[in-house]
């Protein structure tokens, strides 16, 4: 089809080809963990690690503590990079293995050992991402929560400050802001 004709056709179709119509014909809705994986990736873009936190040439490590809730959703990270560092997803059985990680995903199953995990990461430039209600108040920096059908997140600005991470205001705009529970008497 020649360019001129295609252009004409597109002009004619312009009024009828509605954005909505196009949108509704998309693929099947994403799974929850696909969404969460994408979110985590996006967090990495909106959070600034202190200089020297990642050695040059080193991978950007995303560590999944304990079990792996993502499953096939881990493909989201395949071939992705953050600030030029390729994302490397790693599973960690214990908090001791979390050294050298830039993001640590803390699933709901780790609620019991959360304190220890957080302690082991204290003052380290590590972005902790929780997946359980109340994690943020306990010191996890970003925590998912559900709002109806949507996945939303909250940010503990105190914890972020402690970890020497700068969270973008644009992330904060979208997040529910929380503080440490113990910090608020």
């Amino acid at each position: 089809m020649s360019l001129a004709v295609s252009r004409t056709l597109r002009f004619a179709a312009a009024a009828t080809l509605l954005l909505a119509a196009v949108a509704e014909t998309g693929a099947a809705p994403l799974s929850e963990y696909e969404v969460k994986a994408a979110f985590i990736y996006n967090f990495a873009k909106l959070v600034e690690w202190p200089a020297g936190a990642i050695a040059p040439g080193a991978p950007f490590r995303l560590c999944l503590l304990g079990e792996d809730p993502f499953g096939p959703a881990r493909d989201v990270f395949n071939g992705r990079a953050v600030d030029g560092h390729a994302i490397e997803v790693r599973q960690a059985a214990a908090s001791a293995e979390l050294k050298g990680c830039q993001i640590v995903f803390v699933p709901a199953s780790q609620a019991r050992g959360l304190r220890a995990v957080l302690d082991s990461l204290r003052d380290s430039p590590v972005l902790t991402v929780g997946d359980f209600d109340g994690f943020a108040q306990q010191g996890v920096i970003v925590n998912f929560y559900r709002a109806g059908e949507n996945v939303r997140f909250e940010v503990n600005v105190d914890a972020a400050k402690r970890a020497h991470l700068v969270v973008s205001s644009r992330l904060l705009n979208l997040a529910k802001i929380v503080h440490d529970a113990e910090a608020r008497p």
Binding site: A15, E24, N42, N150, R152, L174
Partner: protein, 589 residues
Amino acid sequence: MSDGLFRRASIGRKLMLIGQLTTGFAVLAVSIALIIGGVLDWRSRTVSDLETYATMIGANAAPAVMFDDRKAAADTLSALAAKRSVTYAAIADKAGRTFAEYRAPGEAAPDVTTRLDPYHFMMSSVAVSRPIVFKGERFGTIVVQSDLRDVFGDLARNLTLIVVAALIAFAAATALFRRLQGSIVAPITGLARTMQTVSTTQTYSARVPVHSRDEVGILSQEFNGMLEHIERRDAELAQHRERLEKEVERRTAELSASHAQLQRYSGQIDLLSRMGATLQTCLAQDEVAAVVGPHLVRLLPEWSGALYLLKNSRNLLEAADMWGRQRSAQTVFAPNDCWALRRGLVHVAAEALAAPRCPHADTGAISHVCVPLMAQGEVLGTLYLHNSGPMLEQADQGLLSRVAGEVAQALASLRYREALRNMAIRDPLTGLFNRRYLEEYLEMEIARTHRKGAKLSVVMIDIDHFKRFNDTFGHEAGDAILREIGQFLLRQTRTGDAACRYGGEEFIVAMWEATPDAALERAETLREEVKLVRVQAGGKLLPPITMSLGIAAFPDHATLADDLVRAADRALYKAKFSGRDRVCVAGSE
């Protein structure tokens, strides 16, 4: 406008049209350029504005898209409410699904799609689509549609301004052209009008006023130069023509004059030859005179004249004939009274000439011509013409000379003929008729006398003692006596009588219509008179001469000539015998 129409239009109209077209095209081109430029500028500005908005909103909305926060995205989009022209905006996710929308209040359904080019113009709106990118990664697309009606209003206003400006420029240029065109066209019109005047009226004295030093000025000047040239040439031509006409007139006059002259000549030559032929047949001088007059009257009608012939005595010229309106009064004059005779040449006397008038010429004549009549060096007479008008023309002089020649020739031949005849019938010594003539004369006269019943006398004469004269004084004295007696007898005889030398010293005088008595009386006179004749010979006067005479008459003494002479001879013998110096009549013994 069709080509023919343009061609027929005046230069002013053409210039005007050219100016108008040029200006019109220029203004149109500038206007179009301005409009296109304006539209392009407006488009790029509109698009760039919208792009800015889309980029800003897109950037702001990026996290919302990243985190699938539709509400936040919609909130971000709603910031576009501040931009009144934006009627619709939407954000689509990576898969193209609508993520968030914004609709200006009261706006109908949007007519855009996220799969558009970076920008897309529609009837009354423009849509810009920008990808939503965050840190190099694309999260979706934002589409912003803006209403163009306000901008169209601006555009229309700008357009109107441009059109008005263009019209003003065009009108100003037209007015300017109209003024400037006048300065070009007026001289051309003047030139054309003058040319028209010149070509229709042929007045080459017209001149074109020269106002400027441009091409038209040069053209006018050159045209004026050309007119001057033509005028000069016309004048020369007219002069030339006039000269030519005069020349033709002159030549025609000459031709007709010469034609008339020729005709006259031919008439004259005709007359002349006829006169010549007539003169040839003339037998006597009076016949010649009778022929000359009428011919000269016709040859030279303006001239009167006379033919004067020299008498035998050679001391007088006598008019033989006269003709013309002014008859000459002179009938006789002496040869010395005529210059032509004195000089032996044609003599022309006129008031204008210094030549003297001949004394014999008429006092009333203003000009006169005398032509000598000469033949074999002998003067015969004068042909005289006179006129109270102008002198004789050269050609007529020639004519007159020819007439004179003819007349002289005729006279000469008459004389020659007479001389010949004289030689046959006269005695050379005495000039008297000879014996042969006497015999003819007597034959003729006897017949005539007989018819008339008249008488004829014959007187025979013999010189007394002639032998003694001869012997005493010599033959020359005898001849002298014979010559003198001959002259004496010629003097004594009447016209019509015949004096003859019969032989030796014998003479006969035949007297026609003379009775014997009359003859006797005359014979006695002769006998007496002869004694008075004095003859000289050898310087000596000879003694007086006496004669003896015998008379015989017809028909008294003889009826035949021979008998008559014999009878007279007998009478003479008787006179001799009776003692000489006496007269005897025949039959009287």
